[in-house]
């Protein structure tokens, strides 16, 4: 890549006002570093990934409201986690967390367990039990 070809597209980083470093060759063929504001192919990939997550969150929300799953799944998706990551944050086996996806099981959990989930998701127990109270 030539120095002048380093893309300066509108990127997702712009909002945060930071530019990443790219390696490129100058007129004499010597390597140098150039800051780049972004590259469209990347931005689209990231936008799609985020859209995908939002879809998963919306989907989980609907299923919680229909009482098909527990708020744990909604908050897990909201925090871009999967079962393995959530399990290691709450310090439980994966199958136990999965069991807590069942509304019946979830609403009978002890205060202590609920608090654990609430801490991981950074919400109050009320918000944990009722996702309509969750900010976003």
């Amino acid at each position: 890549m030539k120095k002048d070809d380093v893309p300066q597209d509108k990127g997702s980083l712009e909002s945060a006002d930071f530019k990443e470093l790219c390696y490129a060759v100058d007129e004499n063929g010597e390597y140098t570093t150039v800051n780049s504001s972004g590259w469209t192919p990347k931005t689209i990939a990231l936008d799609n990934a985020i859209e995908d997550i939002n879809e998963r969150v919306e989907n989980a929300k609907k299923r919680v409201l229909n009482n098909e799953t527990s708020p744990v799944e909604y908050y897990m998706e909201y925090h871009k986690m999967d079962l393995g990551i959530l399990a290691s944050y709450v310090g439980l086996w994966k199958w136990r967390v999965k069991r807590h996806f069942k509304p019946k099981v979830f609403y009978k959990l002890s205060e202590k367990k609920l608090q654990k989930y609430a801490d991981v998701f950074d919400v109050t127990i009320e918000q944990l039990k009722n996702i309509t109270l969750h900010g976003n």
């Binding site: 390597y31 800051n35 990939a45 799609n48 871009k80 990551i85």
Partner: protein
């Protein structure tokens, strides 16, 4: 307290931390040099590991390996510490800062508040340097950022004790012994040899063979997985290749910069030629990313498009195979 530490932005966090720490201790080592000596370049497809609901593909060595190899090859000794208790982790960090010793930390990205929201995923192998403390704020030099920043006590604890794959467990590291004279020649040759071995490894998911395997998989994705999932997988490949940290072209440009620098140090003009060739291969990777992005932009599930980029990948794999064989000969 603030240690007199100069922040240099780098493309990749691990090279950047090493390069910045070395510069702090009086040795001018560039980021590509760290990357090359540490044999950072790799391609590996990890079928059994899913990252963000897509198969994991990496363009670099395992987190931590670059520094480890670099240190071994230039004769530096590093002290590494991991902690069970956050309180101990904080205590040891504060002790080092009091002794004017800037330290490297492994952290999780998800709770890194100064990162843009879009970039905060559960990735636990990010690296940064702490170079001081101002009351309750730690002074942070994150090599991928343009400028230095700060984190509070609590914020730092959260990222040091992130959970999931590669959980950092408060991992802290710093050099405890640096030889008076550092000779890079031997280290460079070791680094190059290792990279050639990795890229030409007779393992189906590693190096050139791994690229070929992914190329074959791409052809199957639209039929087997449907347009939506196939698009998501492609997007993930491009992100791994071009996301912050690779310097562009899945680390190929950084590697080319390393070869150029190495050519001067070893007085080996062949490496300079090979550096040019690697730059061209990097351009091919960029073209691949651009064409792949056209597919997921249009949310296309047409097999022609997938076959086209799969052909491109195969072409890249063949080019790299020839390249690394030549590179192996060039340093004999």
């Amino acid at each position: 307290m603030e240690i007199d530490f100069t922040h240099h932005q780098s493309a990749h966090c691990e090279n950047g931390v090493v390069s910045n720490l070395m510069k702090h201790h009086g040795f001018q080592v560039s980021e590509p040099m760290v990357f090359g000596i540490g044999s950072g370049l790799l391609f590996c497809y990890i079928p059994f590991l899913m990252v963000n609901h897509a198969p994991a593909i990496t363009y670099r060595a395992m987190p931590g390996f670059i520094f480890k190899r670099f240190a071994n090859r230039v004769g530096i000794k590093i002290k590494r510490e991991k902690f069970k208790q956050p309180a101990n982790a904080k205590k040891r960090l504060d002790e080092n800062l009091k002794k004017d010793n800037p330290v490297g930390l492994q952290v999780g990205v998800y709770n890194l508040v100064y990162f843009p929201d879009e970039y905060r995923f559960h990735f636990n192998a990010h690296n940064l340097v702490v170079y001081g403390k101002d009351q309750d704020n730690y002074l942070i030099s994150d090599p991928v950022m343009e400028h230095v920043t700060t984190l509070t006590d609590k914020q730092l604890e959260k990222v040091r004790f992130a959970k999931g794959a590669f959980a950092p467990k408060g991992h802290m590291y710093y050099p405890i012994y640096i030889p008076k004279e550092i000779t890079l020649e031997k280290a460079i040759i070791k680094g190059i040899k290792h990279t050639c071995r990795d890229m030409l490894a007779p393992i189906p998911i590693v190096g050139v063979k791994g690229i070929k395997m992914v190329s074959k998989l791409i052809r199957k994705w639209p039929k087997k997985k449907g347009a939506k999932v196939a698009n998501h997988y492609l997007g993930q490949i491009v992100r791994m290749q071009e996301e912050i940290g690779t310097g562009g072209g899945g680390f190929r440009y950084i590697f080319a910069a390393f070869l150029q620098e190495a050519s001067g140090i070893l007085n080996n003009p062949k490496l300079k030629e090979l550096s040019k060739e690697m730059t061209q291969i990097g351009d091919l990777w960029r073209d691949f990313a651009l064409d792949a992005s056209r597919i997921y932009k249009n949310r296309s599930g047409k097999t022609d498009g997938y076959n086209n980029i799969a052909d491109q990948l195969e072409h890249i794999a063949n080019k790299e195979e020839v390249f690394f064989k030549k590179l192996k000969k060039a340093i004999k």
